[in-house]
């Protein structure tokens, strides 16, 4: 059995809450879910690199906000936002997200407009 180590990280409160619900529903632990997803990410990335395919790296860079959608579309050789959305879904990578504070500000704007 592979040796395990502990490490410290940070995660969004809501995401952790949802992960706990998911773990309970599927009779597993958050730790097991985290390990499975991290393994998927690392192995997919390594397999793509070994095959000389940079597309997963492009999608990962897009997911992490390192490149914008224009650069991602150009690197992947596609011209449709829908194809980009589908590739991200297929690669199990989340679409890039704005910081929570910025999202909160936009939500407040909508509440003001609705009042």
């Amino acid at each position: 059995m592979a040796q395990t180590v502990n490490f410290t990280g940070a995660v969004e409160r809501d995401l952790l809450k949802r992960a706990k619900v998911l773990a309970a529903k599927t009779d597993t632990s958050v730790n097991a879910l985290f390990n499975a997803e991290l393994r998927y990410l690392v192995e997919t990335f390594e397999a793509a690199e070994a095959g000389g395919n940079q597309n997963f790296r492009t999608l990962l860079d897009f997911s992490l906000g390192r490149i914008d959608d224009v650069a991602a579309l150009a690197a992947l050789g596609i011209d449709s936002q829908e194809d980009l959305f589908l590739l991200m879904a297929q690669a199990h990578l989340p679409m890039p997200r704005l910081p929570e504070a910025q999202t909160k500000k936009m939500i407040n704007t909508l509440h003001q407009l609705a009042s």
Partner: protein, 172 residues
């Protein structure tokens, strides 16, 4: 006098909501829903998993379509091999925004984009225009009690996208 509010989604939010089968959520706040002509063309010109759904929704809900010079020029040059296609919907949305800046009396416009486009676009925004992400819009609907969960709509879109993803992974 109450200022009229319009909501104008870009292609990304339309695609996400179409995959979640939730396009009607755009009407929940009771604001007029409108589309830039180039955006509507962009999401319906090719047969995709969502093109028909978006086209039918726009017709069924009588969504206003706003004419733009970008779309007019695009149609005039259609068929030309050198014709540019990328980001024209977004440029048309910018054109609509600029028009709102000159509106008299002023109207309020909510422009919906996906997070990554808000992060990228840095043009000057007229004071009566607001750039809002799909996520922020969905959380707003949840806080208003109009939907039970914003996260579940996003999740439905992703799950549906994975189902439909028989898409070939582009070659290196």
């Amino acid at each position: 006098m109450k200022v009229e509010t319009r909501i104008l989604p870009d292609a990304g939010p339309l695609i996400t909501l179409a995959y979640a089968d939730a396009l009607d959520l755009l009407h929940k706040p009771g604001w007029q829903v409108a589309l830039a002509d180039m955006v509507l063309h962009e999401v319906t010109r090719n047969e995709t998993h969502t093109s028909r759904k978006i086209g039918e929704w726009a017709r069924r809900r009588s969504v206003s379509v706003i004419e733009t010079g970008i779309y007019r020029d695009y149609m005039a040059g259609k068929g030309s091999p050198a014709q540019r296609k990328a980001n024209l919907g977004e440029l048309a949305v910018q054109e609509v925004m600029q028009g709102y800046g000159l509106d008299d009396p002023p109207r309020t416009a909510v422009f919906l984009f996906e997070d990554h486009k808000i992060a990228r676009a840095s043009f000057l925004l007229p004071h009566n225009c607001h750039k809002i992400s799909t996520r922020a819009f969905l959380i707003f609907l949840e806080e208003k009690g109009w939907i039970t969960s914003a996260a579940s709509v996003e999740r439905a879109a992703i799950q549906s996208g994975r189902q439909f993803s028989a898409l070939r992974f582009p070659s290196p």
